[in-house]
Structures are given as C-alpha cells and as structure tokens.
Symmetry: C2
Subunit: 371 residues, 2 copies
C-alpha cells in the first residue's frame, strides 16, 4: 500500500478541505491532489491550484492552471484513487454518487449527506464494492473497531460528553443565550455544530449515520455519556468482547485515518495520549428523555423513508431561527417535531424524493415559529 494516493477533494476551501490539504503537505510521498472542487472562495482555490497543481478543478468560473470540469467528472475521473467529500449540505451529493458508481473509495466528512441520503449512498457503495470511511471522530472510531472483524457486531456504542442543557428545566433554559452556547464552540466546530452538540441533535444524527455506514440496525446502536471525553466509541461483538478507540477528539485524525487506510501515518501535530495521566474514565447511560432532539433524530432514523432528510433540513432551519433570535433554545425541538409531524413521507425514496422533502422542510419550518 505504499503507492501514492491520488485525491479529489470536494469542498477544498472549507475547514475539512483545508485540513485535507495540510495532511497532503505533511505526507507528500503518500498522497497528492489531482482534483479540487469548491463553491465560492475564488482567491483561496486559485491559491490551492497554484500550490497543489491538480489536473482538474470544479468551480463556478475558470481557475488558472487546471482544466475546468463538473464536480461529478472531477470525482469520477480515472486517475482518482480516493474522493474526500468535505462539502456542506447537499453540495457534493450527486458527485459522491458519481464517484461511487465509478468505484472510488470515499472519505465522507459531510454529515448532511449521510443523514439525508445515507441509505442511498451506502446501497450504491455496496453495489459497487466501495469503502466509505467517515471523517468524524466518533464514527471513525467505530470504523476502526470494525477493521479486521466480520459481521459479528452486537452493539455500536457512541460516546458523548453530555451537556448542561436539558429540556426539563424551563426556567433555566429560557435564559440560555446564543452567546453562552457559542462560547462552548472550540476549534473548528461551527456555530450549527455547537448548537447541535448542546441539544444532542448531533449525537442523534450520528446514530443515523452509523446505522447506514456500518449496516447495523438502530436497536444495536446506543449512546453513553462519557464525561472524560477520551473514548471516542466502542463496539461490542457477539462473543461479548468490547473494542474501544481512545484518541484526541480530532477531525484531523479521523481525516488522516480515512486517507491512510488501511495503513496509518504518523501525526506529529498531536501529542500522544498518556493513559496513566488520563485519570479514571467512566460511562453512564444517556437519559434520552432529557434530550428531545436526540429522541427526534433516532425516531426519524427509525421511521426512515424521507424523515431523516426532513429532520436534517428542519433542524438546520430551527438552529438558524434560534441564532436569529426568532425562537428560544427550548423551542428548537418543538419546531423540528412540528415539521416532522406534518411531513408526508415517501417510501423507498429516490434522490429526487429526498431533495424534494429537504426543500419542503426548509420552506415549511419558518412557518412553525410560535406567534
């Protein structure tokens, strides 16, 4: 596996896209860039093209130094060995499906694609014998636990650190301000992710992603609270053995694993974890009743069809409404639930059905703001 990996990066000007290019810089003997795609930041992609010299670029207008192609062509070109999907939202969904149809392994950093259309994406991946590795700290940990194992999973156990915010203390919650929640943001996590972490919508969506990524039914996926934030995920197998992955909660690490798989590359930027300095670690059951967004997500996942797409769009809109001070923190789940309750699901949805459900939810959610 010492051959140079040739990468196509969809969303190269975003946070994960830029981190991907940093990994390429650190490992010039192991991977190089043959394609870059982005949506808006011309100055940055022009600079990236000049530096990494890809053959092709997908951008709304021509970028000097590379052939201009569509994102689908870029992702399925014959000389691409791995496609990094680092786009946001629906962008990159059809290009991902084109890459899979062309037999390209995927490093998937786009959560929305997996929540909306995980079933479609993974069905295509199985059909074409393609590996989809998640670029997410917890989901990458699950993939790592499953490496070298057959289909003998009893339970996938995701960890979360818990949050001080719950639905059941209305007086306290009314006072939860945007500023307070966004102060919790650290590093590259965006504002949306920060709110989704506070509501545990993020963990609920991870359960949906895990269901499709690892082809394990919802009953076999659970979440535990793990305040020490050291163990990323665990998998229990049919013989009772549990495998755990302990690492820094780093997207960059998950990204590099997806790029280096089935090998691993050194990562000098991260200090090694000192087990004996870790102190005691513990796991507690998640009180799901306290986190309505978590429940809504897992219910939408369990119902399937177009519900996860509606969940994803309604949550995005509800969080925007919260950030825009149109609704309070505790109204986020109420708004999302109202939209889900009004949705007319499409069974065995096509890509088109999913995109329509997404659009319907985006249009419908703002109407749910209480008077």
């Amino acid at each position: 596996m010492d051959r140079m990996k040739r990468l196509a990066i969809l969303g190269s000007t975003g946070s994960v896209g830029r981190q991907t290019l940093e990994v390429v810089q650190r490992h010039p003997d192991r991977c190089r860039v043959v394609g870059l795609a982005a949506g808006s930041n011309f100055d940055l992609i022009a600079q990236q093209v000049a530096e990494f010299q890809p053959t092709r670029v997908a951008f709304p207008r021509p970028v000097p130094g590379a052939e201009r192609v569509s994102m689908e062509e870029l992702a399925s070109a014959p000389d691409v060995d791995l496609v990094v999907v680092a786009t946001v939202g629906k962008a990159g969904l059809t290009a991902t499906l084109a890459a899979i149809a062309a037999g390209k392994p995927i490093a998937m950093a786009n959560k929305e694609i997996m929540v909306m259309a995980g079933s479609l994406v993974m069905a295509a991946a199985r059909q074409h014998g393609v590996t989809v590795l998640p670029v997410d700290s917890a989901l990458s940990a699950v993939a790592q636990c499953l490496a070298g194992e057959g289909q003998n999973v009893e339970q996938i156990i995701l960890t979360c650190t818990g949050t001080p915010y719950s639905w059941r203390a209305p007086a306290a919650l009314r006072a939860v301000s945007r500023e307070e929640l966004l102060r919790q943001t650290h590093g590259i996590m965006g504002r949306k992710l920060s709110i989704d972490s506070a509501t545990l919508m993020r963990e609920g969506m991870q359960v949906i992603e895990a269901r499709w990524l690892f082809d394990v039914p919802f009953e076999r996926i659970s979440v535990v609270v793990h305040p020490e934030n050291a163990v990323r995920a665990l998998v229990r197998f049919v013989d009772g053995t549990v495998k755990a992955v302990i690492s820094q909660p780093s997207t960059r690490l998950a990204l590099q694993y997806a790029l280096s798989y089935p090998e691993r590359w050194g990562l000098p930027a991260l200090p090694p974890l000192d087990l004996t300095a870790l102190g005691p670690v513990s796991f507690e059951p998640l009180d799901e009743a306290k986190y309505p967004c978590f429940r809504l997500a897992t219910e939408a996942g369990y119902r399937g069809d177009t519900y996860p797409a509606v969940l994803n769009a309604a949550d995005e809109m509800a969080v925007l409404l919260f950030l825009d001070q149109q609704i309070g923190f505790q109204e986020i789940p109420r708004v999302v639930e109202a939209v889900l309750n009004r949705h007319q699901p499409v069974h065995h949805p096509t890509l088109e059905d999913i995109l329509q459900a997404d659009q319907w939810a985006r249009d419908f959610t703002p109407q749910q703001v209480p008077e």
Copy 2:
C-alpha cells in the same frame, strides 16, 4: 468462512484442552475434532475419543476407536485446519514446529513454548505464512487490537491488576504464606500461575510472548497497573490512536476467538459486560522496581539467546521450591537471578540449544537454595 474447522488438540486432557472440547460441543456446526493428543490420563482421553470420534490419537498407549500416531503426525495431518497447542511445558514444542512447517494455523495456549522458543516458533510461522493466535486473555486482546491493522504499532500496553506483594517490604513478605498466595487462585489458574501472578513473573513473561507473537521490539511493549481488571490490553498506533479490548478475563473467550478467527461466535456462557455498570476505570504506571521477577523476565527477554529458556525453567523450579517450603516468597527472584547470572548463553540458538539450556537451568536451580 462458514466451512467446518477441523481441529487437532494437543493436550486435550488438560484444562485448556477440556475447554476446547466444550467450545466444540457448543459449536458442532462450526468445528469438529480430527485429532487428540495427551500424555497420561487414559480414562479421560478414552472418553474423549469415544465422544468426539477423532481419526487419530497421540497417547503413550493405544486408545480404542482412533488410529495411534505421533503428536507430530497428528498436528501436521492433511485434514487438520487448526492446531490447538494446550500442552504444558516443553511437550508439544516439536509438534508445534511440525504443524507450522505443514502450514497449519496455531491456537497457542502454551506459554512456556512461547517464552522458551518464541523466536524460533514465530520465525517458522513467518516462513510458512502461518497465523499464531495466543490463547491468553491479554495477548488475545492485543491480537484483536491488531486485526485489520498494518505494521503501524507505536506501543503494546498490557494491563495487570497489580499485587499486594512486593520485594521492598521484607518484614511483611517473610510472612507471606503459600496458603495465602494460593487463596488468590481463582478458577482454572494453576498454582504455578498464581505464584507467577503474585511476583509479576507472569506479566514479564507475557512481555516476552508479545515481543515474538507480534514482532514488536521490547521498547514498544509496556505494562500498566489497572486495578479494575476490565481492559485486557491496549495498542497505540503511530497516529496516536489507542485501541483497547475490554472483556471478561476469560481464557475460554480467548480460546474461542482463536478458534473462530477471523469470525466471532456467540458465547452464551459469559454474561455481557455492562459498560455503564463498570464504574470508573484507571491506569497507573507499573513501578517495576517493586517487582524483581518482572525486571528479570524483561531483561532475559531483551538479552535473548537462551536466556528466556533459562528464565522459564529457573522460575518453574524456584516456584516449586517455594511451594515445597524450601525457600521464602522473596527468595524466588533471588534464586532465578542467580541462575541467570551463571548461564553461558548460546547465540542464535537451535531447538537443541534451547532444550539444553532448559535442562541446565532445571538441574542448576535447586543448588541455589540458600543454606
């Protein structure tokens, strides 16, 4: 991998041998016995032959119902898919090498063979492309952490629960009685293993086994104290990620993994581990200075040549002298060290050299008893 596995079991009347037959009984659709070998218990092996109907048997005298062959023939017969080495001491060493030369995967439950001759055994295994899976709770956990991974190991971390006995409290130690130590024995662990656990010779020998089984230099193998006894072993990879295996400390589980590999089979006899009932778990550095037997073992492993064989034999004799009340608990490491210091090592030893060093140490150790 749904094909029936045909097993040859060396040492079928011992503890691990009997457990192997229990696994066969539980999974009659997945494995069956084609050969049994034992050394002394005629009644039991006759009963085993009647029940499991192997084609061949290796025993000092004929056993009705099966063809009598040598242990080497039994282990290398064409219809054998996996050889379980559940013998004690040197017994089974040449049969193991014969099995490896015939390309048979090995489930290795004999620690002495791996300590004495791990270098020879694993060199042969690499030469013949044979997998050797350890039947030992901690070492099996390491093998499981390494499944699906390349050669990107930074550190193998074995855990031990620690022991209340140390060399540095002479007054207290003089009073450590055989009865007290053997009260610590639980389940199938023998008297020898119980003493080796108290001195941490067991962990030192595990380090030697790990060095050969996983082809990782001694500098990359360490032991941490883990009082909760939940995590069996951990492996840190070059990217800083740590994989851990959490399971019951069960030889039977390790045995079944070796039999089912690369699959896993259900194990209804063991209750599943409840993570949230686990309570906090912790890891502390091992104070090696407090455990002279641990230091002696790792030093002997590091020196290599015939030293590990001498360590193994000298420790066995020293423990026997302790059980026979000829020496005190704290004299065990002193006796072993005296024997190691007098040993004239043979470089790049052959099997014959190793067996001679073993015999020399067995003869020489009793002479080290203080007047």
